[in-house]
Subunit: 107 residues, 2 copies
């Protein structure tokens, strides 16, 4: 398993990481803006969504090189990155990630 | 200091308590709906507003008869009830509350 990250791979990894996060925020922001809060329950429903998302983002977006392969696999499975987009971080890492995405049990 | 609550005073107290809470929610809901979230910071600003309000409401709306005079004083000071509206819970309690409202240091 290819573990080292070259300088160029790191640059691409950072860009892809940020891209996924942007996409995630875009969906979150559009969800918030589309909610028309009318009741007390809806206020606390919105609060629960934000609290859950905050925890989720903190857990998921772990930019340590030892974790990145797992992070990217999770982002692909969540639909925030496509496998094709991962090519710049090397064919081999892309393949590792693909395997993880397909082997659902480990995630 | 008049401490006991008659049946009729309790009914009025409950109604006023709920009225203040409704007004507080109306303002909160209108604040949320008027916010147009565009950035990540604004998402977490909204989250912080909701978290703070949740804590504040939990602390403030304490419906124990031993606490109600203090609760109403705080609600008047916050603008969620007027002194005039408190008349049905007795002139004496209304006066007690007025004193507390004016004696800012104790709240």
């Amino acid at each position: 398993m290819e573990k080292k990250w070259t300088k160029s791979q790191k640059v691409h990894a950072r860009r892809l990481f940020d891209l996924a996060l942007s996409r995630e925020y875009a969906i979150l922001i559009s969800t918030i803006n589309s909610m028309e809060i009318k009741t007390r329950d809806e206020v606390w429903e919105l609060y629960a969504i934000l609290r859950k998302k905050r925890k989720e983002l903190n857990n998921k977006y772990d930019y340590r090189y030892s974790q990145l392969i797992f992070v990217f696999a999770q982002l692909v499975r969540g639909g925030y990155l496509s496998l094709d987009e991962l090519e710049p971080i090397s064919k081999e890492k892309q393949k590792q990630i693909e395997k993880m995405v397909n082997f659902k049990a480990i995630l």
